[in-house]
């Protein structure tokens, strides 16, 4: 059942079109992450839903009622801000109590409720402090508590983990799903970190160029992106993009031929290749020779030069260069990386054919049709 709907919402600031007929529908109890590159209008979208700004066109409905032009205080929503936006002259307790007071709740009831929220968010012991006496993590939890305290029908989270360090960020990533579940609230979560989007979203809505480019479950977006732009946003390192050509039921790229799993119209295309779909072995394919088709498991071997290895958290990124100078990035596990050389070396790259994604020249996805 659709709980929040945005219908063809547009917003301009002077000549700058931030949102252009963006539409989104969210179910009750769902957590939807709005994700996009910086400056894509994510924050503006939240402000329209919160009632801080009004859209130039379009309609916003919450629970079937139109709220497009209602004041923020009439919408019964909660919002946590990226900069926390705590009231500096009120204690953490009063900050969290604020939405309860505004709803006319009784004093004893408020105290009980704030204690409860404080306990859940593990800030029970600092509720009597002013914001300036709180650590960053406690500020962040206070701001979350304030947004949640009144059990709002809709919770808006504007990149709440942006300003906390890695340790706290992971702590909250573990904790947040449980907290949100406890409140059973409908959540819109804005972030520009694709990992956070995949970690926290029941669905992810990719916002780019003023509109939603794809709205789907995180794994679907990662495995089955609708466009090259979306594919590029997910993954670190980002996808490798190479030019290919479709002919005779196969695709040619990097001098290799991969049979297609279905039918695609012949012609030039662009192929995206995830770094984890390229496996590197230290054996050296004969230099200059046409790479051999290994055949088994649909992997194809390609002679490349390994130029650099840069560890990345629990993995390592390898910079590969093909004979004609094309750069490819591949990843391997941290342990495998320790046996790789520091300087240049000729190695073999194996490409998993099943993981190739095809796009037309404009970047729209080409999906092979079953034969």
């Amino acid at each position: 059942m659709t709980y929040l709907s945005l219908t063809a919402v547009s917003k301009r600031f002077k000549d700058d079109v931030v949102l252009d007929k963006a539409s989104l529908a969210i179910d009750r109890g769902e957590t939807v992450v709005v994700f996009g590159p910086s400056g894509c209008g994510k924050t503006v979208l939240l402000r329209l839903i919160a009632g801080i700004n009004e859209p130039d066109e379009g309609r916003i409905h919450i629970a079937g009622n139109e709220v497009t032009f209602l004041e923020p205080e009439q919408r019964n929503i909660g919002m946590a801000f990226q900069n926390f936006a705590l009231y500096p002259h009120m204690t953490a307790f009063d900050n969290i109590a604020s939405p309860l007071k505004a709803r006319g709740m009784k004093g004893t009831e408020i105290a009980r409720r704030v204690e409860e929220v404080g306990e859940l968010l593990k800030i029970g012991h600092v509720l009597h402090h002013l914001p300036k006496a709180l650590s960053n993590g406690q500020k962040q939890r206070t701001s979350l508590g304030r947004a949640l305290a009144a059990n709002p029908r809709l919770l808006l989270l504007d990149d709440p983990l942006r300003n906390v360090d890695a340790k706290l960020r992971y702590e909250m990533r573990i904790e947040l799903p449980r907290v949100l579940k406890a409140f059973q609230t409908t959540v819109i979560y804005v972030t520009q970190d694709y990992k956070e989007a995949m970690a926290l979203g029941d669905r992810v809505a990719v916002l780019m160029g003023g509109g939603f480019k794809q709205i789907d479950h995180p794994s679907e977006i990662y495995k089955d992106p609708d466009s090259l732009d979306v594919a590029r946003l997910f993954g670190d390192p980002t996808v490798n993009v190479v030019d290919g050509r479709i002919a005779d039921g196969a695709v040619e790229l990097l001098g290799l031929r991969f049979p297609l799993p279905g039918h695609l119209d012949p012609g030039p295309c662009r192929v995206a290749l995830r770094p984890e779909s390229i496996e590197v072995t230290l054996d050296e394919t004969a230099a200059g020779s046409m790479p051999v088709d290994v055949g088994d498991e649909g992997r194809h071997g390609l002679a490349v030069e390994l130029d650099a290895v840069t560890p990345l958290n629990v993995r390592a990124v390898m910079l590969l260069k093909t004979a004609d100078g094309k750069e490819l990035l591949a990843t391997c596990s941290e342990d495998e990386a320790t046996r790789l050389p520091r300087g240049h070396k000729n190695v073999t790259a194996h490409i998993r054919a099943a993981d190739l994604l095809f796009f037309d020249q404009a970047g729209a996805r080409l999906r092979p049709r079953p034969n």
């Binding site: 009632g51 801080i52 205080e73 500096p88 505004a102 304030r146």
Partner: protein
């Protein structure tokens, strides 16, 4: 520069003493004068040693000044009361008008907003003498001349722009998100203004109140032209000591001391709030 030599310290203390003496000497001298008779004041060379007298203060409090040419009525206490009424009411009115206006200028970008704000500030640029004559004529016709209402109205030229511009800056420094958060909590805009914006701009409001009070208190020309003896503040009232039989320096000094005291006390009292305001801003980042 890192390690301060004892010589450096001596030089620094010496320089500071000189600067302090330079600025404080006139005040100190006026303070001494207020306890001297006219003869002692006019003695050449002047002396730091004299028989202190409370005569000057007695004259101010009793309101009677005996001179060779007869007894003069002195309305100093009335003047002091006028100053209090005029400065307090003007500042109060300016706060009521200026704070909401400052908030509007800080938060809402409306057409001509900047121009209006600047026009208000420009009242402080024009020399008051420029508008005095027409103002006096208007006030005559409107029956506002020599009334508290008229003076308080004119004093708005002094106090309103100050309050508007200082407080506006403080409102602009408050993160809009804080106010948005309070609205989303379920509070209307007026409550947000009252519970969030005003408390957070308090140091600015305190500073603006203090400054505009001092400016209103010290005003001279408006009251000189637009008020007669019974509505005059101390600044104008001191002129009464320039009598036919000579200038009563002792009484002038005493009235200066008495009239400076309230503003000085106010400044000292407000100082800690001002400092607090400054340090609050420092940690806000």
């Amino acid at each position: 520069m890192q390690r301060q030599t004892s010589l450096g310290r001596v030089v620094r203390v010496g320089l500071l003493t000189m600067v302090g003496l330079f600025f404080l000497f006139p005040i100190f001298w006026v303070f001494l004068m207020s306890f001297q008779t006219n003869q002692e004041i006019l003695r050449i060379p002047p002396s730091l040693f004299f028989e202190p007298t409370l005569h000057n203060y007695q004259v101010l409090f009793s309101g009677r000044l005996e001179t060779q040419t007869g007894t003069l009525e002195v309305r100093f206490m009335q003047n002091l009361m006028n100053s209090v009424i005029l400065a307090t009411s003007s500042v109060a009115l300016s706060l009521v008008l200026g704070i909401p206006a400052a908030y509007a200028f800080a938060r809402f970008k409306f057409r001509l907003g900047e121009d209006i704000a600047f026009t208000l500030l420009s009242f402080r640029f024009a020399p008051p003498l420029l508008v005095l004559l027409p103002l006096a004529i208007y006030f005559q016709q409107l029956g506002l001349i020599n009334t508290y209402t008229g003076l308080i109205w004119v004093y708005q030229l002094i106090t309103l722009p100050l309050i508007l511009w200082i407080v506006r800056g403080y409102f602009e420094d408050i993160s809009e998100d804080i106010e948005h958060a309070y609205r989303i909590d379920g509070n209307g805009w007026f409550k947000t203004f009252w519970k969030i914006a005003i408390p957070l701009a308090k140091p600015g409001i305190a500073a603006a109140t203090l400054l505009s009070f001092i400016f209103a208190w010290n005003n001279f020309v408006f009251a000189l032209i637009l008020a007669s003896a019974d509505k005059q503040p101390v600044t104008v009232g001191a002129l009464a000591f320039v009598t036919a039989s000579g200038i009563q320096y002792g009484q002038i000094a005493a009235s200066i001391v008495l009239s400076v005291t309230p503003t000085l006390a106010l400044a000292l009292y407000a100082q800690r709030y001002l400092v607090e305001g400054l340090s609050l801003g420092a940690v806000k980042g």
